[in-house]
Amino acid sequence: MTSDRKMAQTTLEQRPAGGHRVSQWALAWRRLKKNKVAIAGLGIVGIFIVMAAFDRLVALYPPKCILGVSPACQLDGRLHSNSPPGLAYPLGTDITGYDVYSEIVYGTRAAFLIGVGATGLTMLIAVVIGLAAGYFGGWMDNLLMRLTEVFLVIPFFLLLLVFLQVTIKLAPANTGSIWLVVFVIGAFSWPGAARIIRGEVLRVREFEFIAASRQIGASSYRILFRHLFPNVLHIIIVLATLQIAASILTEAAVSFLGFGAPGSNTWGQQMYNSANYVEQAWWGTLFPAVFVTLMVMGFNLLGNGLRDALDPRLRE
């Protein structure tokens, strides 16, 4: 018994929290660098980060500037509404007279907010459920996985629309806040990720050092967060990256249908505002859609690259 205990402890100590892991990450980074597609994704995301951080510099006009009317953008003093792309406005103007390009630039922050915010919530739920189901097993696993399956079958996009419309009608005070959209997307998107994390926990749980720490009676909390979590972290990173793309896409679709936060300036909202004029002024609808596509693509390419780099089993 005592020798058992000694052995377990040495196994534990042989696995320092830092050193070994770092080299794993360094290795993954080296693999990622070789993957041109992933680097393209990283580049796209990087460009968008710059756009969001320095939006005033990147944009041509201040936010919500009506070309030809607002003092900050007088131009020739004539309202430029639904004007096709030209020298003063490379991507045209929308019905109100906003510069489509500048408004898109100002929408970048909202896109990150939505993507990262909703993903944060999603991953929080997914990690808790995945870790608990995988680690405790038994009835807990059963219950959580049944719940997950229910959420997988729910047509969540439909409920999202109803939910948002109900709040718009019942609590108009909240109207204009994209946080509600973020919250609802985040609260419903976790089932897929939870299942994958659970699967990974089941695999990792068999590692000897975890069995060992269990044997020496380490607390569940300690095992979960000191040992299991670091070992499924790579999967979480991949899932989160892909989920950012999915959240941005969902918000854009919701807003495009007219269920977004009316006061917000997201790309989807911009598409919705211009959708009625798509025949005369396609640029107002199509260019925000192009940027949604680009950002989603950036995160998807990066996420797939990360998956290949962090999980070398998937690729020789």
Binding site: V37, V150, P155, L161, L170
Partner: protein, 312 residues
């Protein structure tokens, strides 16, 4: 059978969203300001609002199960509204899914076979890009180009509204003409994930020992690839396609709005804007039901193609 509890869970959820949204009679009044107090009383009774909440749910559920979908707040039978549009939804979804499978399977196999080649890298990267292109971009762009600009196809709708304008005075031809652009664009919009799925399933199967053993036994490349490779890869493909179909159905509101396609998705968008709950509930329940049926079909197919879990 785990489908049954899921179904009831979802009906409960749908029901509670309505009741949480407030007094249905008030919502109804908001949409029909002219109704009088007597009519309101009648409505209150027909919705069993005078009963405790669980009785309300049960009576709502029993109405639902007996296909008594009631009337929308704006008048009109929900059953009629839905039955008029269900076919349009199924038509677009099933054609899109079938065509994308037909196209994706050979491409995915080719990509897996020529792994690491320029062709494979091209297919994989363009599929990755493809998964990121939303239908509201691809669809709107296609309609702008081929509808508004070139006038090759109508810019929306299921058929011409005026019979005298049917293509060649034939309803079927007219419908086909309306279907062509949405079906084609939709197929390409949902193609990319299927290609990636087929490719990864094939790669997984191709590294199995029985594939090597088949090659080592002198079997032809065709037999190795299709009789053994594809046949085994179908098992994960079928599973995934069942799930994927559920996702596609839930996305019907976007798809059908883009193509101005009169299906239940478009119906849902229109009536959700009005918070017309009888319609909302019916559409959610029907789409869930179709998703569950798709899962059931998947399970049955799965058991059929995988002898390891074939039911005795």
């Amino acid at each position: 059978m785990f489908l049954v509890p899921v179904f009831f869970g979802i009906t409960l959820l749908v029901f509670s969203i309505e009741r949480l949204a407030g007094d249905p009679v008030q919502l109804y009044t908001a949409l029909n300001p002219h109704i009088n107090e007597a009519q309101r009383q009648l409505l209150r009774q027909s919705l069993h609002l005078d009963q405790p909440i669980h009785i309300q749910y049960l009576s709502w559920l029993s109405d639902l199960l007996s296909l008594n979908l009631g009337f929308s707040y704006s008048g009109g039978s929900v059953a009629v509204l839905i039955s008029q549009r269900l076919w349009a939804t199924l038509e677009l979804q099933l054609i899109g899914l079938t065509l994308s499978l037909i196209i994706a399977i050979p491409i995915g196999i080719l990509s897996a076979r020529k792994r690491y080649s320029v062709l494979d890298v091209t297919i994989t990267s363009s599929s990755l890009v493809g998964t990121s292109i939303p239908i509201f971009f691809l669809g709107v762009a296609a309609i702008l180009i081929f509808g508004y600009n070139l006038h090759w196809f109508p810019s929306g709708g299921f058929q011409s509204s005026d019979p005298s304008r049917y293509l060649y005075h034939n309803l079927l031809l007219d419908q086909a003409w309306h279907l062509f652009l949405p079906a084609t664009v939709y197929t390409f919009a949902i193609l990319a994930p299927v290609v990636l799925l087929v490719r990864s399933s094939m790669l997984e199967v191709l590294r199995q020992d029985y594939i090597l053993a088949g090659r080592a036994s002198g079997l032809s490349e065709r037999s190795v690839m299709y009789k053994h490779g594809l046949r085994n890869a179908l098992i994960p493909i079928v599973t995934y396609v069942g799930l994927y179909f559920g996702g596609l159905l839930a996305g019907a509101p976007v798809t059908e709005t883009v193509f101005n396609w009169p299906g239940v998705g478009k119906l849902f968008v229109d009536y959700t804007t009005q918070l017309d709950f009888p319609v909302i509930q019916a559409v959610v329940v029907i789409i869930t039901l179709m998703t569950l049926v798709a899962n059931l079909v998947t399970d049955v197919t799965y058991a059929y193609i995988d002898p390891r879990i074939r039911l005795e």
